[in-house]
């Protein structure tokens, strides 16, 4: 038997957790790929994460501007969304468990830069951990 799930209710905004239990971003969007010439429905081929992915969900000019500004700050040079191929997913539940370490994914770049920025603020202590 196969399982049904509703994408917005059960996937969007869920936390990505890598194989070591480290946070690796959130599910900001999904990549849907047409299977080709046949009339089959699209397949989900990747989870998209990061400010560049979030920008695509915001359909107001202010929202898009904010997301682009965050993308420039947190992930310079990453104007395309970070992709987590679906074959890197271990399980879907309250969070999305990944089979790999966050460092092996380009999705970890924005998270790492945010930690460095926060860690550099005087008095941050272990807030960036």
């Amino acid at each position: 038997m196969a399982q049904r799930l509703d994408a917005a209710l059960e996937l969007l905004d869920r936390q990505l957790v890598d194989k070591d239990g480290q946070l690796a971003g959130k599910v900001d969007d999904l990549e849907l790929t047409d299977p080709g010439d046949n009339p089959d429905p699209p397949d989900v081929t990747a989870i998209l994460t990061g400010p560049a992915a979030l920008a695509g969900r915001l359909h107001t000019p202010v929202g898009r501007w904010l997301a682009k500004a965050a993308a420039r700050l947190l992930a310079p040079g990453h104007q395309q969304p970070s992709r987590v191929p679906l074959d890197q997913v271990e399980a879907v539940g309250a969070s999305i468990q990944l089979k790999v370490a966050a460092g092996q994914l380009d999705a970890g770049a924005g998270e790492a830069r945010a930690r460095r920025l926060i860690g550099g603020i005087p008095g941050a202590g272990d807030a960036a951990q």
């Binding site: 399982q3 990549e31 969900r57 879907v92």
Partner: protein, 130 residues
């Protein structure tokens, strides 16, 4: 295509009448795709309605769970959801989805849960935990 291009898109029937907006995209999780290209998660159809409040609380998806008072308030008054099978879509352009047939012949959403497999399921597929 991205999921965000479908969510919130307006659905219009073959007579040009608005059916509602896309509140969610129903997926079905199957085994790995032929050729070993990873686990399969395929779009099955769209949940469409005019009123979004109940849908955002998870009502109108076939098997509503939760306190009866919320079900009474949101389940009936807050959602008028219909299920749009993917095969009924004629075109998707500029956040507008044109379908064959009319709103009246779209079914109510079926409950979430298990469905018969379309593709062979093999070891190594990931799993959904609820």
């Amino acid at each position: 295509m991205r999921l965000s291009e479908l969510l919130g898109a307006e659905v219009v029937d073959e007579h040009g009448h608005t059916v509602g907006k896309v509140h969610d995209v129903r997926l079905v999780q199957e085994g790995p795709r032929p050729g070993g290209a990873g686990p399969g998660l395929r779009v099955e159809g769209l949940l469409v309605g005019r009123r979004a409040l109940g849908a955002r609380f998870g009502f109108g998806r076939g098997a509503d769970r939760g306190p009866w008072l919320l079900k009474a308030l949101l389940g009936s008054a807050g959602h008028d959801g219909r299920y749009l099978p993917w095969g009924r879509i004629r075109s998707i352009q500029a956040r507008q989805i044109r379908i064959t047939g009319t709103a009246g012949d779209l079914p109510r959403p079926e409950p979430l849960g298990e469905v018969p497999l379309h593709r062979e399921q093999t070891e190594g597929s990931w799993r959904v935990r609820r």
